[in-house]
């Protein structure tokens, strides 16, 4: 694997991308760029357009306007497979893995290693097992048995296997849609560690999360979406933790709400405001 850490060509770049669903404007003039070996956190409220953006990047949707460049070259994907062939790998929270299939069979689904020629060409199951074992241990993942059904793995392990798979198949850009949102603290830590591993191997990572504790330690850049538009991309230096948390939790709206409620001078409103305050302080 080549480490093009210091390359100045973005691994992935979009310019003024828009996407409409009928009359719904899901994305409107979104631009962002990502260098190899960078982790970008994609932040924003529900319905902000995060999933639409990554589905556009991963070949599920075609943008209605704007440019999409991979390694500096314009691309247009008709299917997720085409994006995959260009090194854009996406790990979806739900359909990352098929629960009834073994870890090995999942890992190689669609790209099975073979031995033999013509009609004697067969799925090299032994080799597949060895590769899975090797790749997972490289990422520090301890799978007891590569033949166990994926359904028996924990959520964190499942995400990790999906990430290891993407890395093994030469992903240059790894897109993760809320990989940690359903996980406990420890499991989420495991996944974050693999993201760091992937970054160390020169892979560009786009990471969607609602949790500032997951975003801040791992993110190099933060792109904030709001109602289909981007509020900009910030580096860690430009965006102190408090400000990020504020932006992530839709802080503006909360403040305004608090203000309004204060205006009622209602005891109950005070209680509600306190509750909101407390919730904010939790982060």
């Amino acid at each position: 694997m080549t480490m093009n850490h210091h390359s100045n060509t973005p691994a992935l770049e979009v310019r003024e991308i828009s996407k409409y669903f009928g009359s719904v404007i899901a994305l409107s003039g979104v631009s962002m760029r990502l260098l190899p070996g960078e982790v970008m956190c994609l932040l924003g409220d529900n319905g902000a357009g995060k999933s639409t953006l990554i589905k556009t990047l991963s070949g599920v949707h075609k943008p209605d306007a704007g440019e999409y460049l991979v390694d500096g070259r314009p691309v247009s994907f008709d299917s997720p497979r085409e994006a995959l062939d260009h090194g854009i790998a996406t790990v979806y929270q739900d359909l990352a893995m098929i629960p009834l299939m073994s870890v090995t069979r999942n890992f190689f689904l669609g790209s099975e290693p073979t031995v033999g020629r013509s009609i004697f060409k067969r799925f090299n199951v032994q080799r597949a097992r060895e590769i899975v074992r090797e790749e997972l241990s490289k990422m520090g993942i301890d799978i007891r048995d590569p033949d166990q059904p994926v359904g028996t793995l924990s959520g964190g392990e499942r995400q990790s296997v999906a990430i290891a798979r993407a890395v093994y198949f030469g992903a240059k850009v790894l897109i993760l849609d809320e990989p940690t949102s359903a996980l406990g603290v420890k499991q989420a830590g495991v996944v974050l560690r693999y993201i760091a591993q992937a970054r160390a191997r020169g892979i560009a990572v786009i990471f969607i999360t609602h949790n500032p504790h997951h975003a801040y330690p791992i993110g190099d850049k933060f792109t904030i979406l709001k109602r289909g538009r981007t509020l900009g991309t910030f580096t860690k230096r430009e965006l102190p933790r408090e400000k990020m948390i504020h932006l992530m939790s839709g802080g503006d709206e909360l403040e305004r709400l608090e203000h309004e409620l204060r205006g009622f001078h209602d005891q109950q409103a005070d209680i509600l405001a306190d509750a909101i305050h407390e919730e904010e302080e939790l982060y």
């Binding site: 497979r81 359909l95 069979r105 099975e112 199951v125 074992r133 048995d145």
Partner: protein
């Protein structure tokens, strides 16, 4: 760091050996293998002295099991791929009748009739598959439709052409002898248990059944398309996203079930010397029952061809075993239905525990 990795490797190797039993428990066909043994013992005890244990008894239930088994193995592949084919029974009637009409009514060489009949099956199978893909309707609905269309057209056209619903006289058709050698010949084994030195006739369909099951098992477990079938049945969209040719595989699987129906029909037509428009009725359900008893999930993504073999064997043993016991064979369906439900419960239980035994 590297020392740690080596330790980990060692641990994994040890676990691999320990998990041999667990690996077995994880196989979908486990329940059906156990069930087949149980059913065999049951009839051995109840009807052992009435011929069930004789070679002729074995030939008898193996013949029934083989005809169902050929169908069930193909249906198992399709069901693992997440789809149903309810039209295989009608397809048996249609393909058999095509052979009979072409060879008897129109005087064709029977080989030509058999080949045309196969093409018909493959085309209708492909149409089933394409309709399922294009309409995105459940295959249950699409093939329920083709069940009636094929059966109705078979009856209607046969009556239109021949004026009847049955066509006989195939044994006199040109090329019958060579065709019969391939599809209906058998191995005669003198039954040592028979006092009059009667021989048991093991038909060649048993060989076809086992050969097809072996090929299907190989394809499922050791080829790329096999892995795709599991993937498609497990999660069609996920499979498509990683580049599995989902649509092409589905069409092929529907063509395969239709071709299996054709093979069963050819065997039957050559063995009995005639075709009947109603042949194959309800075979689609028997096939599904055999497949499900064999451990394949109704929802797809999990199952085995070997399981379907044992499922068909169980159905065959029960169907013929009841005759040996002297119980009225009307009760067969009661057994079959009850067995289906028990088998699904047992299979679910095993699968749950195999999954939990991490």
């Amino acid at each position: 760091m590297s020392g740690q990795a080596i330790d980990k490797g060692k641990g994994d190797e040890r676990l691999l050996r320990e998990s041999f039993l667990k690996r077995w428990l994880r196989r979908p066909e486990l329940g059906a293998v156990g069930g087949a043994v149980l059913v065999w013992f049951f009839f051995a005890v109840v009807a052992g002295n009435r011929g069930f244990l004789s070679l002729r008894g074995a030939a008898n239930y193996l013949e029934v099991a083989s005809e169902l088994g050929i169908l069930a193995v193909a249906v198992a592949l399709l069901m693992i791929g997440g789809e149903f084919d309810l039209s295989v029974g009608s397809m048996i009637g249609a393909t058999g009748m095509i052979i009979a009409i072409l060879s008897v009514h129109f005087g064709w060489n029977i080989w030509a009739a058999i080949v045309v009949s196969l093409f018909f099956a493959l085309i209708v199978g492909a149409i089933n598959g394409i309709l399922v893909i294009r309409t995105k309707l459940p295959s249950f609905i699409i093939t329920l439709g083709s069940l009636f269309v094929i059966r109705g057209a078979t009856i209607g056209l046969t009556r239109l052409i021949t004026g009847r619903t049955q066509v006989g006289g195939i044994k006199g058709a040109v090329g019958y002898d060579s065709a019969s050698a391939l599809f209906t010949s058998g191995i005669q084994i003198v039954d040592p248990a028979s006092p009059r030195g009667l021989s048991a006739d093991f038909p060649i369909s048993i060989f076809w059944w086992l050969l097809i099951a072996a090929v299907a098992t190989y394809v499922l477990l050791r080829t790329r398309p096999g892995n795709w079938i599991f993937g498609i049945g497990g999660d069609e969209d996920a499979a498509r996203n990683v580049g599995v040719p989902v649509d092409r595989m589905k069409v092929i699987l529907f063509m395969l079930t239709a071709a299996a129906a054709w093979l069963v029909a050819t065997t039957q037509v050559l063995a009995t010397g005639g075709a009947d428009t109603l042949r194959g009725e309800q075979r689609e359900f028997y096939a599904i029952i055999a497949v499900v008893i064999g451990g394949t999930l109704l929802t797809g993504g999990y199952g085995s061809a070997i399981g379907a073999v044992f499922g068909a064997l169980i159905v065959g043993m029960v169907q013929q075993g009841i005759v040996f016991t002297g119980i009225d064979s009307d009760w067969f369906m009661v057994f079959l239905g009850a067995m289906l439900i028990v088998a699904v419960l047992v299979n679910n239980y095993i699968r749950k525990h195999a999954a939990e035994a991490k």
